[in-house]
Amino acid sequence: MRLPLLALLARGPAHGYELKQDLERMLGSAYPQPNVGQIYVTLGRLEKSGLIEGEDVEQSSRPNKKVYHLTDAGREALSAWFEETEDEPRVRDEFFMKLALAPQTGLADQIALINKQRRQYLTTMRNLSKLAAAEDRDNRIAHLLIEGAMLHLQADLDWLERCQEELEELE
């Protein structure tokens, strides 16, 4: 959450609730709604580390609100974020260990493990499809997020298929 908040503040000063709304608008219903408490905590930490600065703004009928702006150090941290590439998604290592170790335990069947895992992926895939259908058509960013999740799942399912092909031959 830290860097996305910095990125939103690069546009101009904003208070916590505005940032929450910006995130929601951009990511759509696909992304789990950011918790406003979590946003305030993160803003507090960013301020402590000097990446943003907050200013109290008086409001007539409500408590003061704090408007944040990016500092030079924050802008640098943001540039560094854009500069670096990200790690590859991990192979589902926990499932892989189950699959690898099942035969010697005599407690689980590899094909049954694969079938069970596939059911879960397919169910998630189905839920993602529904999410995509419900999402605003014009929100490209939200649709790309869902599509990315679906393509990762597709790859996981393809890999389960390969496991099944190989392991069934041995039976």
């Binding site: 596939r118 059911r119 895939m125 529904k130 995509a132 599509e147 298929e161």
Partner: protein
Amino acid sequence: MSDGPAPVLHAEGLVKTHYGEGAPAHAVRGVDLSVTRGEFVAITGPSGAGKSTLLHLLGGLLRPDSGRIELDGVSTDNWSEARWAVERRKRIGIVFQFFNLVSNVSVADNVELPALLAGASPKKARTEREELLAELGLDGKERSMPGELSGGEQQRVALARALVNHPPLLLADEPAGSLDSKGTREVMRLLSRFHQRGQTILLVTHDARLASAADRVISFFDGRIADDAALTDTAPPRRGGISGVLELRD
């Protein structure tokens, strides 16, 4: 089998071996399958698993070496090729990966022809065609030739053709297999829409995204059913649930 209406499709002990050059290929090795009215079933599996052969058996496009198939409780055991061709027009709509439209007649005629062959009046065939093409977003394409359309549009015409006689069963063989990502989503959306209106669908695909539109997914491996799972709309309880898949890095 005694309670409730007969399944739209019921198959028992289906076996099919292809004899070509080289070793015989055991494409389908003993398949039992029932599809009830209104179900949307997807068959997935790696290429070469025999899923297309299975769909061709179920549509009467291939004869099994052994086993039997019933459509709406009616045995097809003694059906000739000609009988299958006639029954297919009314009972089964089929869409294929490569559309298989008649290339030298218009979009309108591609859709109306099967209706006319099934005995509809020209007026009725025309009305059905107009409704379906409008529904599928193909207004204004009636006079086009199939070759003038994009792949996605051609597949929508193929879908209209398959559904023009309101068949109880729609068979789809890799309907998005030659489409891009956008075309795939379009096919998925349309299949879901027809399913919601009660259309029974049996879909063969290697694309899990497409398969996940179904409410029952059969995994097919090496000529056999390896798993047959009803998909529910609520994910099994686990850390993060569906949102976990979408979670961006903290």
